[in-house]
Subunit: 323 residues, 2 copies
């Protein structure tokens, strides 16, 4: 099976998804954010997980879109909370329309996600929804923790990992779990898929933090150092705040507290502090640990090797990404 | 059966509902808004509808709470959009905490509503959720229409009725429908309950608009004329804008456009315009029509007369309310 078959079928399914019509102010923003694109990682993971156990992977198409719609609902509401002007280089919904429309369109997107999930077969519906409810609540919990961390300078590594696990990784775990449930895989394989998705997800987010500092400016796509400029509480900064003391700590806090600065100078200075403290190595070690755990989880899933190779290849691309 | 039994069981169920714990910023606002009270009309309607057909009305308790949680989720988000400082005389969630927390707590409340609905028995789960999804989307559509109407001066009566049907009445319809579905009532009775709930709901909202102008200040509880002071696009104002012409139209528009005015003077003047145009009679006629339709719908429901009397009595209280 060529993996492009899954991507094509998924994009076609997204293109033909109907969200609603009237009033247009409510439904246009849903079409807008869904059309902004993105890598569609989560729904592809659902399709790959279904195909591990059955040829009938197409019955996972609508539920896979549910996961993507839910993900974009969280982006629409998070962008309000973060006052983000741009999403994938285009104006965010609250900028293009207004705050109220972004709140209300997001609400109806969440309802749309539930409606798409209703497409799973009746015997698994209750279990799928119970798992989705738990996941959705955890994603909200992660976002709230992220908001709480903004005003704290003493966030520990463990707290940070817990936050990104909730905010980002549990949805990757659910995307894989959902595929397993749709394919009626045995419970242990479903659980390993979920755990694997969570571990890969944590590694994925930590790699995001690493690439912001040490990414190749040509390959990265975004501005290298964007998190440093914005004082974003990433793994790198949290680790540096934990490790630094003496004059280095003073210098780091100085850069965090300065309101007027040359951006390039700040990025260079903070990167030098990270170098001195060995943050890059710490981050790379952690990332490799989580990715290794994820692959070990996938090892335990009982499925045909050729099919498992598709999932492993997909996860490997996530691991090796440079952007 | 004493109707207080339903209310007691419901309040007890609400009191023992668990929404989540960590982080507290996410879950405290849910407990706060649910504890503000209110008449609990919707979940009581679910219990009464279940009891029409079965003694096992207690199995509707958790789904009934789902309806109340959903209703309060819409209040939490509507209060942000309306910039409302108070809800039931207490600070709104976005005032007591902040906007971001009100958005995110509301999101997780919607997830909580779905989780409570999972308590219905498996054979009806898909149908209940499909109907709930449609209802939830319609409530959002109604809120968006309401927001759109704020900046329009040419809203017709038909458009206004459609808006309040979506924003308010379909949820009353669903509350009754849900009870019928849980009790495994025949399809026709479930449909009549739903239609009856919608019609009573429209009459109920129109009565709200009427009482704002012509309510007894002692019985009404809120300030009489509050909608007039705020230029709120109620049935009364929309009807008056449709009916008025010549100097009366000029006077009405004058009051709408004035930014500085004596509140009592404006309420008195606009009420006099409504008197002249016969808006009170038009409103009372419409209200009676919708209530009569609702009771005719309930007539068609096949159930034991003594049980139906409980629902009819409940609806009659809604009809005759003075506050």
């Amino acid at each position: 099976m060529n993996p492009a078959v899954f991507a094509d079928a998924l994009l076609n399914q997204i293109k033909h998804t109907h969200y609603g019509d009237h009033p247009p102010e409510l439904y246009d923003p849903i079409r807008y954010i869904m059309d902004l694109g993105g890598k569609r990682l989560r729904p592809l993971m659902t399709l790959l997980a279904t195909y591990l156990f059955t040829d009938e992977w197409q019955k996972a198409l609508k539920p896979a879109v549910a996961v993507e719609v839910f993900h974009n609902f969280t982006l629409m509401h998070d962008d309000i909370m973060d006052q983000a002007p741009l999403r994938r280089g285009q104006p965010t919904v609250h900028e293009k329309w207004n705050h109220n429309i972004a709140i209300l369109s997001g609400d109806v997107m969440l309802v749309n996600a539930y409606e798409l999930l209703l497409d799973v077969e009746t015997p698994i519906l209750k279990q799928v929804l119970a798992r989705f409810n738990r996941t959705a609540a955890e994603v909200c919990e992660g976002q709230q923790l992220d908001l709480n961390f903004e005003t704290r300078d003493d966030v520990t590594e463990a707290e940070y990992i817990e936050m990104i696990k909730l905010k980002t990784s549990v949805l990757l775990g659910f995307a894989l779990e959902l595929g397993g449930l749709i394919a009626c895989a045995v419970d242990s394989s479903v659980a390993h898929l979920r755990e694997g998705g969570i571990n890969i997800g944590i590694g994925f987010q930590l790699k995001d933090d690493l690439l912001d500092v040490y990414g190749d400016p040509i390959k990265f796509g975004k501005q290298v150092g964007g998190d440093i400029i914005a004082n974003k509480k990433t793994f790198m900064l949290i680790e540096a705040l934990e490790k630094a003391d003496g004059p280095i700590k003073t210098e780091l806090l100085g850069w965090l507290n300065r309101t007027e600065f040359d951006k390039a100078e700040k990025v260079e200075a903070v990167t030098r502090i990270y170098d001195t403290l060995g943050i890059r190595q710490i981050a790379e070690t952690r990332i490799n640990q989580y990715f290794a755990c994820g692959f070990a989880n996938f090892e335990q899933v009982v499925a045909e090797p050729a099919r498992k190779a598709l999932l492993i290849d997909f996860a490997t691309q996530l691991v090796q990404r440079e952007s």
